[in-house]
């Protein structure tokens, strides 16, 4: 395996690509008891249209998530799951816009558990009956999300911003769309998206990297499979379709999410650099030490839940600025004014240096959690960068790069989604 040391962070990363195309990342951690593994497929809610071996396919919304649920079913007599739980590893999974991740954390029997997890995720077993049964359970998951104002405000905004991109549709799908899923759909998608060359395995804990590599070689199929090519549609223009959308729900106070489409970053270390620039810029513009946040907080327009970030992946980049406010449109106007001011006057060099320090500390803190470290590594694998490079890149960022990022955000690019308390 290839080794790269990160002396400033006190970490070392072991990497390999197996002959079947699986990419492997291991961070050994001496002295820690817990060990964590995530086995991830480059397959999320947005991978609905794709081509593989020259053939184009179109699938209903919610297949990636449905498949994730059904991977926990095994043929009669297969005791993999029981053995995992008996070993103290309760495996779990989630599906995001761009990935499906299977993971577990345990302190004992890690190597055996890893073999079991790899076996579980490479053993598709679906019947029409179990598919029907799952439609009921996921139906309840959809209901649960319908009652969540966070989901509602998020879904609303994405529909205001995007005209065609599959991010418009929920990862869970709808009761109708999941009704179209059959056992065959699941077999087909498993074959295409769970091919070793479309997956990665990331491990952190007190482990021997060579042993992890050996386990992966032994447990996973030898054939590479063909990597599917996702089709997210043509790149969209940068203006939103709809500036404002409101909906009423049983909430205590208005919830809002301001957003904008940004230029996608592509792949590689340059993409990671762009992620860092956007986070650092937003920290200066809207973060806890910014004039903007403190002014609106004191005026009673914002509270501690206020947050701003840019999400990258699946061929797009989206700005999200959200929280709770008695006057969400007032917050939107204030964001626009603050952007205009910075576009005119530039950023303050003293604040820039401070923000960089704080970002450095936050990155350091992020390295404490095995789960978030492994998930960042997995995202990096699929986008051709290494998340551990972030701290070094951060130190070289310039104030000009942040100003350029903020200059792009003209007021007409912003949209706002609001959930208001039900008027009785």
């Amino acid at each position: 395996m290839e080794t790269k040391a990160y002396p400033q962070l006190g970490e070392a990363l072991y990497s390999a690509t197996l002959p079947n195309g699986l990419r492997l990342r291991v961070i050994p951690k001496k002295g820690f008891r817990s060990r964590y593994a995530v086995f991830a497929a480059n397959y999320g809610g947005c991978h609905r249209r794709f081509s593989v071996d020259g053939q184009r396919r179109d699938t209903p919304a919610g297949v990636a998530h449905f498949l994730e649920h059904k991977m926990f079913d095994l043929p009669e007599g297969d005791r993999t799951l029981d053995r995992l739980t008996a070993n103290g590893a309760d495996p779990n999974a989630f599906t995001s816009e761009d990935m499906t991740c299977y993971y577990f954390q345990c302190t004992e029997h890690f190597e055996e558990n890893l073999r079991l997890l790899l076996h579980l995720v490479s053993t598709p077993y679906f019947t029409e009956e179990t598919v029907r049964k799952e439609q009921g359970i996921i139906g309840q998951e959809i209901r649960m999300s319908e009652d969540s104002p966070d989901s509602a405000v998020f879904d609303g905004l994405l529909r205001q911003l995007y005209a065609r991109h599959p991010i418009r549709d929920r990862i869970l799908g709808t009761e109708e769309s999941i009704g179209e899923i059959t056992a065959q759909t699941l077999y087909d998608c498993h074959k295409v998206f769970y091919a070793p060359c479309n997956m990665c395995l990331c491990v952190e804990g007190d482990v021997d990297p060579e042993e992890i590599e050996r386990i992966a070689r032994e447990e996973l199929p030898e054939e590479r499979g063909s990597a599917p090519e996702a089709d997210f549609g043509e790149e969209e223009g940068l203006l939103p379709l709809e500036r404002l959308r409101r909906r009423e729900m049983d909430v205590s106070a208005p919830q809002f999410l301001i957003g904008a489409k940004l230029r996608p970053t592509g792949k590689g270390t340059e993409a990671l650099r762009q992620h860092l620039i956007s986070a650092l810029s937003l920290r200066q513009l809207l973060g806890s030490s910014s004039d903007f946040y403190n002014r609106l907080y004191a005026q009673g327009l914002l509270n501690r839940d206020f947050d701003a970030e840019v999400a990258y992946g699946v061929g797009i980049a989206t700005l999200f600025v959200g929280g709770e406010s008695s006057d969400p449109e007032g917050v939107l106007r204030a964001v626009e004014e603050e952007l205009a001011r910075v576009q005119r006057e530039g950023l303050d060099p003293v604040r820039f240096e401070r923000a960089k320090r704080a970002s450095f500390g936050a990155r350091l803190r992020g390295l404490e959690d095995f789960e978030s470290v492994c998930l960042s590594l997995a995202e990096g694998v699929f986008d051709d960068y290494c998340s551990l490079d972030a701290t070094a890149l951060l130190q070289d960022l310039s104030i000009n790069a942040c100003e350029d990022f903020l200059r792009e955000l003209s007021p007409e690019r912003l949209a706002i989604s609001i959930i208001e308390p039900r008027r009785t």
Binding site: Q8, L9, G10, G31, F32, R33, S34, F72, L81, D82, T85, A86, G88, D90, P91, N92, Q105, C106, E108, K133, I137, I138, Q140, E141, R143, M144, E146, D147, S148, R159, R247, E248, M249, D250, V251, S252, A253, Q255, S288, S289, S290, N294, Y297, A298, G300, N303, E324, R354, A355, R357, A358, S359, F360, G361, A362, L364, R365, E368, F370, Q395
Partner: protein, 432 residues
Amino acid sequence: MELTRTEILPGVWLNALRSEQFKTACLSLSLLTQLKRETASMNALIPYVLRRGTTRFPDMESLSARMEELYGAAIEPVVRRIGEIQCLGFYASIPEGAFLPGGKSVLRPACELLGQLLLSPATRGGLLLPAYVDSEKEKLLDRIRSRINHKSAYALSRCVEEMCCCEDFAVSRLGSEDACESVNYKKLTKQYHTLLQTSPVEIFYCGRAEMRELSAALRDALVTLPRGEIDYEIGTDLRMNALEDKPRFVEEELDVSQGNLVIGWRLGDCMEDPDQAALLVFSAVYGGGTSSKLFRNVRERLQLCYHAGSLVDLHKGLLLASAGIDFDKLDSARDEIFAQLEAMRRGEISEEELDAARACVASDLRAMCDSQGELEGFYLSQTLDGLDCSPLELAALAEDVTKEDVVRIAQSVDCDLIYFLKGGEQEEADGD
């Protein structure tokens, strides 16, 4: 990794775990006080008002700037309820010097800032600033009201509230809207001084600093803490049995598309001499993870829900089971949740179920040693319960829990209340 516990000032206890494992240190400070309806909101308000400004850093902007200078050392207000004890204070996460450019520790300046936040708030004429108090009061009211936004958590808290309607445990960690409304800056200043004088203080630290360096920094930071007679008479009232002969039923309507069922029990006689390890294994068998009875039966076999699980409150002696279901499935879900408990009472627990529960509880406890946040919560809880068992010791005990231990707990629990949140008569929300 061993915990040392020292009284560094009168009634101020430092619990320190020295560890080289982490890149940031954790430092928390909690004032302990009895959870009461009249004072809960006022107490909850205090750390948030203090976080608005100090004499040296008079507003949030300058405070945040100072924290950024310390490489993002974050010191944030925390308000918790552990049993019927309200814990309020700050949780700080401080980057370790060894990983910072320049390699200099920021522990001492971070301790200073923590001390200033607690002891030197921005005041006028000795009183907390009315503008800060009023503003944080509005935000606390918003936070209290916002529990309705997350329906499954709302249903859980409503069940506890109804179940413990005659006990202080019905009061949430943030208190009530009514009590919050009546707070003003004069009352709050008085309560702040009372707490400083009378509350036991628990400090938790986990990081690389030497004990001597750490306690010196903390003593210097807290030297002006005014201490009076310290109130150690705080604790949690245990009620062993249900309020009425038959379980009460409470139903509530909101604009929801999914129903939320929560059933609450008193843990009963087993709380006379509670066996923490056995209680954790019991809850894991009943409704812990994917191998639990509730998950396998209510979700997987009967397909009534997406989430179904249980939890125990070891301090107050409660068991809660919950499931998100269709409105018309109340009876079948409730019956199955009871049926699974009945099965446990009859001793119907397989070797596999027990093994999985023991292994998962033990693994989670051992993994806790790698998370400062969890260690902090664990040790504060242990201290309040007068216990000094480490996560590793508790993990070993969990592995020795027998089927009989679990059955005994199942037989001891007493159902008190069934709560159901369902949809109202309102029209469909307008979507796409």
